[in-house]
C-alpha cells in the first residue's frame, strides 16, 4: 500500500513580466468598456451600455471583422454546429434522448438523428420508439456532433456517421471546454497505443484503439471483453496526463497530450498527479511544444 501525506504547498506566483503578461492580448473584466465606437457588432460576452460596447465576462477580447466577442477563461460549453461532443444520456423520452454535455441546458438527440442498425435510410417505426432504451439508456456515453442550436441555446445532436455513437469501455476525463483546442479532427489514434476523442465540450474519452472487427456494429454493440493490461496502463497514464495538463491550463490537442505522455514515462503512473511531479512533467511538455513551434 502507499499513502502520501504532506503539508499543502504555497502556490508559486507566476511572474508577470511586462512583455509576457499582455502578450498583445486585450484582457477585460465585467463592466469594462471595450469601445464606444458604434460601428461594431456585439458578440458573446458583451452588452450595450449607453451606446458603449461593454464586457460582461472576464476574458480575452476577440475581434472578427466588425464582430467583438469576449471569450471567458472558463465557462460551460457553448456549442456550435459541427462541434464534436461527448455526452451522457440522462433521460429517455418520446422519440428523443436527453444528453448531458456540460452545456447550459441538456442537449437533445432525436431518434431521427441516429443511425439505427440496418442501414441509414430505414424508416423509424413505432417499434423503434419502444426499443429506444435498448439502443441507449440512462448513463450511457455517446460521441456525437452538434447538428443545430435551438433558439433557447439547447443543442440538437446527431450521430449519423460511423465514427459517432455509443461509447464502450474506456475512461472519461472532464476538463473545462476552453482547454480543448479546436482542430480539424478530434478523433485520434495516438501512437502510444490508445485512442482519444477530444470533445469540444471538455469531455474527453480515452479508449483502447479499436480493431477492425467492430466496424459494422452500427455503434450499439459494446464489447465487454476485458481490455488487456498494457492498454489499460496506457489509458490510465494518459488520463493522469490530461488532468495534469488541465491543472496547469495547457491547451489539449494530440501533440500536447502525446508530449506530456512521453515526459511522464520516467515516473510511476500513480505519481503523476503529485504536485511536484505534475509541475515537472508539464514544464517539460511546454518546453517541447515551444521548441516544436520553433
Amino acid at each position: 500500500m502507499a499513502v502520501d501525506m504532506r503539508l499543502p504547498t504555497v502556490r508559486k506566483q507566476i511572474s508577470l513580466s511586462g512583455s509576457q503578461s499582455t502578450d498583445g492580448k486585450h484582457l477585460v473584466v465585467p463592466g469594462d468598456v471595450i469601445t464606444s465606437d458604434t460601428g461594431f457588432m456585439r458578440g458573446h460576452g458583451t452588452y450595450m451600455d449607453d451606446e458603449k460596447l461593454t464586457a460582461s465576462v472576464a476574458g480575452e477580447v476577440e475581434r472578427v471583422n466588425k464582430l467583438i466577442c469576449v471569450r471567458p477563461l472558463k465557462t460551460r460549453f457553448n456549442g456550435e454546429v459541427g462541434d464534436v461532443v461527448v455526452g451522457r444520456i440522462t433521460e429517455v423520452q418520446q422519440k428523443r434522448w436527453k444528453v448531458e454535455t456540460n452545456s447550459r441546458l441538456d442537449s437533445v438527440l432525436l431518434l431521427s438523428s441516429v443511425n439505427l442498425p440496418g442501414g441509414e435510410l430505414r424508416r423509424r417505426s413505432a417499434e423503434d420508439e419502444l426499443a429506444m432504451r435498448d439502443y441507449l439508456q440512462e448513463g450511457d456515453l455517446i460521441s456525437a456532433e452538434v447538428q443545430s442550436v435551438f433558439s433557447d441555446g439547447a443543442l440538437s445532436l446527431h450521430t449519423r456517421s460511423l465514427k459517432y455513437g455509443k461509447l464502450g469501455q474506456g475512461v472519461l476525463v472532464q476538463v473545462s471546454p476552453s482547454l480543448v483546442k479546436r482542430q480539424k479532427t478530434h478523433f485520434h489514434n495516438l501512437p502510444c497505443g490508445a485512442s482519444i476523442i477530444l470533445g469540444n465540450n471538455g469531455y474527453i474519452w480515452l479508449y483502447p484503439t479499436p480493431g477492425q472487427q467492430d466496424e459494422e456494429a452500427g455503434g450499439y454493440y459494446t464489447s465487454l471483453e476485458p481490455v488487456p493490461l498494457p492498454d489499460r496502463e496506457v489509458i490510465s497514464r494518459l488520463r493522469n496526463c490530461l488532468l495534469a495538463l488541465a491543472a496547469h491550463k495547457v491547451l489539449l490537442y494530440d501533440t500536447s497530450v502525446l508530449y506530456c505522455y512521453e515526459s511522464s514515462l520516467s515516473h510511476q503512473m500513480k505519481d503523476i498527479l503529485k504536485p511536484e511531479i505534475m509541475d515537472e512533467i508539464v514544464m517539460e511538455t511546454r518546453q517541447r511544444l515551444l521548441e516544436q513551434e520553433g
Binding site: I14, D23, G45, D49, A58, K74, L105
Partner: protein, 245 residues
C-alpha cells in the same frame, strides 16, 4: 455606548482603523475544481467561500423554470464553528433564509439572466469565520465566483457595511462594532454605474445623517471594488499567460 468606545477621541476605532478605512482584504478565485466557479475571500477576520454551479438545466420541479431568463438560486449558510458561540444549524433558520433571499435579489440585478432562458444558476455561500459584514463578504465572494464561472454580469457587485457613531460614519464594521447597538447599513453597489443592488438599514437614524452614511458606504464599496478588480485581473493574466499557444 455600552461601555465600549467605538471611536476614540483621536479618531481611531477598536481595531486601530480610521473611520473610513477598510479591513485587509485577500481573495482567490478558482478554489475548487468540481464547481463551475468558486472563490474565497477574507475581509479582516470574516472569511467566506462561494461556489457557483451552472447555468444548467433546472433541477427538481420544472415549474420553477422561467421561459425568458435564468433562475438564480442562492443558499447562505454558516459553518457551525464560525461564530464565537457555536451555532446549532448551518442553515435553515430565519436569518439565513433572509440572507439567501437578499443574495438572490442582489445578483438578479447584476447577472444578465435573460441570456440563459430555462436555465438555473446556483450560488452557494458559506461563512467559515464570522466577524461582522457577513452579507458583504458573501456578496463579494459570490461576485468573484460568478466571474470565475464565466457568467455574464453587468458589472461587479461589491458590498460593504457602514455604521454611524458619534456623528461619524464608519466603514466596514467588525463584529464588535456591529453589535455595539449603533446603526448598520449594508449596501451592495454596481460600482461603475453607481447603481444600488441592495440597501438595508436596521436601526433608526436621523434623516439628515442618511446621506453621509450612504456616501460612506458607497466609498467603501468602491474601495472594495478596486481590490476585487485587481484580484480578477491578476487571475486573468496568470491564466492567459499559462494558456497562450
Amino acid at each position: 455606548m455600552a461601555g465600549l468606545e467605538l471611536l476614540s477621541d483621536q479618531g481611531y476605532r477598536l481595531d486601530g482603523r480610521r473611520a473610513a478605512e477598510l479591513r485587509k482584504v485577500q481573495a482567490r478565485m478558482g478554489v475548487f475544481a468540481q464547481a463551475d466557479g468558486s472563490a474565497y475571500i477574507e475581509q479582516g477576520n470574516t472569511r467566506a467561500l462561494a461556489v457557483v454551479y451552472g447555468p444548467h438545466e433546472v433541477r427538481g420541479s420544472r415549474s420553477k423554470t422561467l421561459h425568458d431568463r435564468a433562475v438564480i438560486n442562492c443558499q447562505y449558510s454558516m459553518a457551525t464553528f464560525s461564530t464565537a458561540e457555536r451555532k446549532r444549524r448551518p442553515h435553515g433558520d430565519r436569518k439565513s433564509s433572509e440572507m439567501s433571499l437578499h443574495l438572490k435579489q442582489t445578483f438578479e440585478a447584476a447577472v444578465l439572466t435573460q441570456l440563459y432562458p430555462r436555465s438555473q444558476i446556483d450560488i452557494y455561500v458559506k461563512i467559515l469565520q464570522s466577524d461582522g459584514g457577513n452579507y458583504s463578504a458573501c456578496v463579494n465572494a459570490a461576485t468573484l465566483a460568478l466571474v470565475d464561472a464565466g457568467i455574464p454580469m453587468r458589472d461587479y457587485v461589491c458590498a460593504c457595511t457602514a455604521g454611524f457613531v458619534e456623528d461619524t460614519p464608519l466603514a466596514d464594521l467588525c463584529h464588535a462594532e456591529e453589535s455595539g447597538g449603533g446603526t448598520t447599513l449594508a449596501l451592495a453597489l454596481l460600482p461603475r454605474s453607481e447603481n444600488i443592488a441592495l440597501v438595508q438599514m436596521d436601526a433608526r437614524l436621523h434623516q439628515d445623517h442618511l446621506d453621509a452614511l450612504m456616501e460612506a458606504a458607497m466609498m467603501a464599496c468602491k474601495g472594495l471594488s478596486k481590490v476585487l478588480d485587481s484580484v480578477v485581473r491578476q487571475h486573468l493574466q496568470e491564466v492567459s499567460v499559462l494558456t497562450r499557444e
